[in-house]
Amino acid sequence: MPERGALTLIFVAALVATVPLFAGDFWVSLTIKILVLGLLALSVDLLLGHAGLLSLCHAAFFAMSAYTVAILQVRYGVPMLIAVPAGLAMGTLLALVFGVSVRTRGVYFILVTIALGFIVWGVTYRWASFTGGDNGITNVPYPAIGDFQITSMTAYFYVVLLVVLGCVLAYRTLVRSPFGLVLRGLKSSESRMRSLGYSPLRHLYVAFVLSGFMASLAGVLYIYFNRFVNPATAHFHISVEAVLMAILGGTGTILGPFLGSVVIMVLRNWVSGFFPYYMTLMGLVFIVTVLFAPNGIIGLVNSWRARRARRAKTTDAVGTEPEAQPRPQP
């Protein structure tokens, strides 16, 4: 029996599904970007919100799968049915390698992931004979299985929505499983979990690889939308943006990263049309979020609801159950 949380997600997805009915192509394409980068942010949040590890290299997995698909399709004419699994495999393989970073903790982990992420950027940028260098790879074909081709934006929008919804439901099962509990246990006290017999290294490594797989999936969705990839896709800024989305929305939640994605993408695609200092604005959003709303939008809503519930309780004594306290900041 699906309970309230799952129903909420399906309800939100149904709402999002109505976007093409009343909005033009600009908003449909913006919604696709929001969903795809929201998925990337969600993959970052598996590590950040649950395991307490801040990874700044997720653009690497994202770009790795996007580049793999683009190169296979454009340069070798490989059909989508093979290019997509290959892209996912390459992104996940990269995560298997970069997973060594879970040997480190805290700030060291952050620094190591930044450095690892830059390898991929450096390769896409400098290995010009293979990756196209700064120009990237253009003219990626429309997604197609055999003769069936998806060329309309709206059709691809529904593909993205379905994949993201499926991914979100799987993610939800994952974080509510014993595995997710172990991750959160590791976040609050690694030594205690170790003394209970859990292997931190093994669990964090698996979480890292799963997270890398999700980021690769976002990369595949992205390449068939954008149909063009260049080193900017692998840049540190994308990793940073994904983390910002997760924190801005609220870490440790499912809707949070997508909410953050809505805010950032609207800033980037709409506000930047009339305000040239988009990057400054993003930096300021970053600073303000960290200083004043470390639990993000969902954290703000929760604490506001908790306050209201307390007030209701004191006035009419028969108050509702107090809301859960906001999560401690990451």
Binding site: T104, A115, L116, F118, I119, V123, Y125, R126, M279, F286
Partner: protein, 285 residues
Amino acid sequence: MSFIIQTINGLSLAALLFLLSAGFTLTFGLMRVVNLAHGALYLIGGYVGLSVVWTTDNFWLGIVAGGFFVVVLAALIDRFLIRPTGENHLAQVLLTVGVAIVIADIALAIWGGDNLRVPTPEMLRGPIFLPGDIIYPRYRFVLILFGLAAAVIMWVLYRRTQIGAIVRAGVDDREMASALGININLLFALVFAVGAFLAGVAGVVGGAFLTLYPGVEWEILILALVVVIVGGLGSLEGAIVGSVIVGLIDAYGRWLMPEMSYFVIFAPMAVLLLVRPTGIFGQEH
């Protein structure tokens, strides 16, 4: 022959990397603050120095101005943004990323997106003739001497003087040092200022041969990160050794396999992570 030239190339990059990573690593060692805006401080220091050189035609004034401008800027960032986060290192990392983005965007608005080179004074221009018929740019050769001098001065200060002993005490055990009557806040401010000054100086010095452009703040920060990861976070000796290792590997990498040069720098880092996650001189934190 080209091996020797590449070695000198690597050492001159190492000199620059040392200026940058010394401040980064000491700031972390003492305050546990990971300042990811360090690259942006390099960038803005370089740009300010450049403007000063343009207007006064004095390279040395440019270096000093770049350094001091960054000290003031870093003090403001520290006082109003980093301190309020207290001991939350994760928040600090994110905060300094935001600061770096803002600084870089403002720099882009003021100095534009072109590659700008800080003009060097007459006495540092032209080639230098080294033994063995090696002709090498004088500026980069002098930079090696400059980096070497900075490393020696820093090391002597750190290991052989009273103030160095106080800093080391602070790195080892902050509470104990403060209980012994050391003004820990003053010490923090001092070390932070020195680190920021070196970053600003590095910006001007590096801008004269690597040029300044949007994006260099992350490229140079990454190299400094690899230095401190290899050398060990919080260790001055680690910064020295790490700079030399990374500088040389980068030079040889660019020479032998230019398309894979980025990859080559990170290989020793990955190996080291497997063998010794804390770096060569690092300790568990």
